[in-house]
Symmetry: C2
Subunit: 335 residues, 2 copies
């Protein structure tokens, strides 16, 4: 991790763009690409561009990514100073090689090199969780701190740790994957080979799965919840949170239980990584703002004393955090 | 964490010791000091020296530490090249300030500066868990790896993570304290403000506490276990492991349960820190070697794929690891 290749920078443009040195961030998901031009502080310079893709293999998908990149460069502007690509994958951030992207079903795709050829300039590739965390650390809710944990709450639960002013990678680029901390010994099966994992209880899919079990256990009590979702199969974490706000008793119980499991996970993460700033990010967190308050209280009251001082903040950047973070990451000299 | 003061080195001796540039490691515990002279590879150059102290405050205890240091320098040898002090405390490794040492009941003691005055040469102070991990990483079971986790199993459970070639400190020098990962949501109370913690189940005190509960729940079945310990109060983890080896059925059940909880903790640690090498250290682990095999299998079978490749090794250094690690740490230029 220590020695990295010289920074992937584009040569300075001769004619200069209207906004000197803007950055381009791309976020490749399972169904679409988001692209956004930002300044060095991560502020968008134009509305984001979204381009759908058919998830039909690297060649076709990377062509769509390149299209998104071109479309997102404001008309009349020259090349961006740096281009970053965020992707939900195990990535070697040094080489731009995508080891494994489960949602895209890619294995060992040199995405950085291929996109660089298509765009005619270097592209840095970074895991989407890392990218989002990087945005929060450098320009968001963790700015100014050397020890930051960014918990990413969505369908699954991920995370990234900055310790001593460095974003951790780990032996196989998976450090911070706290969604797979077992919090219930012998508990619910997870999507990973383990059981009882944090995300099997508190991730979006875990909440939905627990909700379906609750309805199956008591169909009469769960009837309103299913009606709200449309069907048992479509019962989602979002439905559960909305039903709780509307006073549904089954949803109420599920959300309180979720909050209890959330406490265990947050306390474990804060004890293990000892951040000064704890950032709660991701769509699931945005949909249930109480998570921030609960995390703050749990860390203060239940962590061991040195870890109990972490300050909790909601993320600054929303769904575009990975794209913005990839752009900022690409603009940073390699470490 | 990034900028540290210039290295605390002793001036080169003019007349030169019989062993040029040996290192002196000190480990201050709640009842005694261990001192050992080692070479640059951590190999002892003389038998260790143990000096008891009365735990009667910094002045008196540090005087005993200085005595231990002097006694441990082989006769006729000159000054050591570097002196390191390991201590079970929250320590600022830059300044040698002991923030809080619960067992010694010290708060804000400038142990490094005071011992340096007594010995007439600089002393680096480091947390005992960090020191032991440092020894394993640089010269022990983790040597040659950039991503190492050292799990320290004793009365409590601690740990230290090396990620990307750097020993993590964290916001308040507590990174790696994985003994306080909740693994049983709503579980047993811990010595920390939390509950359900890894060490409340698998630490020496946690095993003893679970054993006492098992005996209380079924005194007839537990009679042999109590007899072996001498009394319920003296029932320890060591007794439980020994009774299991002797075929005691209550101990057998307790040890199998302990192993199950151990799996949860180990899997969580490996998923969160993503080490390439996972080192199992500490007296409790030494007393139950099966922990190494169980950790290896759990990581392989239950971690998420990127983390599942970690290689598990027993620690190289035994109870002297903290003293040896402090010596090696003191000899390393400050980072």
């Amino acid at each position: 991790m220590r020695s990295r290749k010289p920074s992937a920078r584009s040569p300075r443009s001769d004619h200069g763009p209207p906004r000197a040195g803007y950055l381009l961030g791309l976020d490749l998901g399972a169904t679409k690409v988001a692209a956004i031009a930002v300044d060095g502080s991560g502020r968008p310079l134009a509305p984001p561009v979204y381009v759908r893709h058919a998830n039909d293999g690297p060649t076709s998908v990377l062509r769509r990514v390149a299209q998104a990149a071109r479309v997102s460069m404001p008309e009349g502007w020259s090349r961006p100073r740096a281009v970053g690509l965020s992707i939900a994958a195990q990535v070697d951030a040094r080489t731009g090689l995508v080891h494994f992207a489960p949602n895209l079903r890619w294995r060992r795709v040199p995405a950085g090199a291929r996109l660089a050829r298509a765009l005619g300039q270097p592209v840095r590739v970074v895991n989407d969780g890392r990218a989002g965390a990087y945005a929060e650390w450098r320009r968001g809710a963790g700015a100014g701190c050397d020890d930051v944990f960014v918990l990413m709450m969505g369908t699954g639960i991920g995370g990234s740790a900055v310790v001593g002013g460095r974003l951790l990678e780990g032996g196989t680029n998976a450090a911070g994957e706290v969604g797979h901390l077992p919090i219930v010994s012998g508990g619910r099966p997870c999507h990973c080979p383990g059981a009882g994992c944090f995300e099997a209880y508190v991730g979006g899919w875990g909440i939905a799965s627990r909700a379906r079990d609750a309805v199956r256990a008591d169909p009469v009590a769960g009837r309103a919840l299913v009606a709200r979702a449309g069907s048992l199969r479509r019962l989602s974490a979002e439905t559960v949170f909305a039903a709780d706000r509307a006073g549904d008793p089954v949803a109420h119980r599920l959300v309180r239980e979720t909050e209890r499991y959330f406490r265990d996970g947050v306390v474990g993460v804060a004890n293990a990584f000892n951040p000064s700033r704890f950032v709660i990010a991701g769509g699931l967190a945005a949909g249930h703002p109480a998570f921030v308050r609960i995390a703050a209280r749990s860390i203060r009251d239940r962590c061991q004393p040195p870890a109990a001082r972490a300050i909790v903040r909601p993320a600054r950047f929303g769904p575009l955090a990975p794209a913005i973070g990839a752009a900022l990451y690409a603009a940073t000299p390699s470490r």
